[in-house]
Symmetry: C2
Subunit: 365 residues, 2 copies
Amino acid sequence: MRRCPPGARKGAAVADRRTATIKDVAAAAGVGIATVSRVFSGTGSVSAGTRERVLAAARDLDYRPSALGRGLKLRRSGGIGVVVPDVTDPFCAELLAGVLACARTLGEHVIVDAAHGDPGREAEIVDRLVEQRVDGLIALPAGGTAAWRAAARIGASVVFADRVPPGLEDVPAVLADDRAGVRTLTEYLVGLGHRRIAFLGATAPGAPGAPAEVRESAFRDTLRALGVTVEEDLIVAARPERDSAYAAAAGLLQRRGDLTAVLAAGHLPGEAAVMVARELDLRVPADISIAMVDDVPWAELCDPPLTAIARPAHDIGYRACEMLLRDRTRRTRGGPVLLPAELMIRGSCGPLRTARPSRRTTRAG
Amino acid sequence: MRRCPPGARKGAAVADRRTATIKDVAAAAGVGIATVSRVFSGTGSVSAGTRERVLAAARDLDYRPSALGRGLKLRRSGGIGVVVPDVTDPFCAELLAGVLACARTLGEHVIVDAAHGDPGREAEIVDRLVEQRVDGLIALPAGGTAAWRAAARIGASVVFADRVPPGLEDVPAVLADDRAGVRTLTEYLVGLGHRRIAFLGATAPGAPGAPAEVRESAFRDTLRALGVTVEEDLIVAARPERDSAYAAAAGLLQRRGDLTAVLAAGHLPGEAAVMVARELDLRVPADISIAMVDDVPWAELCDPPLTAIARPAHDIGYRACEMLLRDRTRRTRGGPVLLPAELMIRGSCGPLRTARPSRRTTRAG
DNA sequence: TTGAAAGCGCTAACAT
DNA sequence: ATGTTAGCGCTTTCAA
């Protein structure tokens, strides 16, 4: 797709040079390369006339300054890296959108990759990002810790979002206030009269420090504070996958036909709870109340709409980026930044109905 | 976060050099820099012994080759750019995931940004990407055309995904076979007995070439082919935003209480149709059948689950990336790659019920 | 097999 | 205000 008029003679001074460089522009404008650099980097001062000539020459040659050259000189790429478990997860996607919004205002580009919960892959990604000489890293870390220790050792600055791996509490982070969110939600459920409340966790086994763990302990603590007995049997965990969440939900609801409410610790378990309840012909909220952490778009589409805790994914991403790029000087003082989560009360939770009609324990046909 | 033992004397030969370079490694290993380069780039040949020494030295110094240096020399960054309207859109996110999957296998990183339907912003993004010297561009283009003409002129190779701007049909592209998908869905609806079928479009005004336009014409053509009268009044369009889609759906359903089915041209209008139907107390599918293009996760969560056309977003992304990086030689021969879309029949569409009970035309309280 | 040297495109002193 | 020059970290002939 080269500009090459039909009549162009080949071998002529067609200047088929790959891409115009600063040198070409300088020559064309009859100035030194430093001047061209000044014009494009905004540094120093150039007379209006010269600037015009340079700009004209550049336009003429379709010149685009090379970030590679500049980056090499400046020893930074002008981009940041974002590592998430999965870009198709609504929370991650929203978080990423927040980062993009902030990065844009700061003129940085964003390199993304998904680790899919694999610490090895995560480490690999971080390595590549370091090779790219990103100005910083924003991560929604998987289980591992190695990648981040390595990154820190190399001198890369990282900010954690949504969760921080155990032992890395000194690394800057911006999180949702899950503890408060779950507390509020639990109080709401208990206030509605519920006592046998199930907790459908999303904790990946061996992933301490994850938000899910915080949520579970918040759930337990709140129950205790409210004087409600914590039944271990009602607290189950699933891996962050549809199948696992579904299996956990099905097992739970079938095993404990007496529970009256389910608090899903994420949108995946929430989805599972809704599906399973429907398959068991459980009416929501008449037979069972359902609420979840993470207010994804479909929560409002559900019938009835699902009560959920809205965690500010976009803000988390934005703040993390800001913290990474603007406040790079100051370290984490006073621990991680905690952003408030909001309880969105919709129709999926109702008051406890005493004397509930007997329920079948077999699955609906 | 520098390694600096408590007892380290300052000013000593602590070698606080920013980051180890190839030169440092060469010195430490007692070899020339070319050798180190060979070891890390896999080029040329190095004796096993030397290789070991180099690797050891590198490990010792936490050396990471600089993609900046390499990129400058190679005149390419080893990354590709992805431009989508919105990373939080499920379709875009899935597409992006596909690109990431492919890019990973090819050892490329991915820079992503969202244009939010703004051609100006899109052009800006493309410009930055070109400055980064990306090896190529994958775009789910907004309305504009300028950005891509410019990119082509500069010599950047781009592959369109999901839609191709008018006049740029010669640019490689990989699309979902929307025409076939909508045809199938329309036939399905007509086969169910429906005649007054509404089409809730997602076409942004002035965005010809967009999939939405293809869908609309496919809808019309199929209806005609089936001998069903095309009622212009039943074909409405909305901008790709929740509000707009909702407004369009509400207007449509209230204005035409006699329609029996809605074909939403995207997940946003689909969502809107579901919400509006619920607010109007319309039972699905008894009172109204609803189907949509794009099989997002919530389609199965709906009650009843929504019949939809599953477009292979992940594959589209993967193929686009493959086409960009592997088949860069061959141009678009035979037009864009068309990937099949699949009709997922669920419970939201039912046979036309003659003698439907009268319906209110006012909104539910 | 290995090293020396010449840039890749740019910025930042330093000199005019 | 503008030109000269010396690299930034790497790959790649070209010799040895």
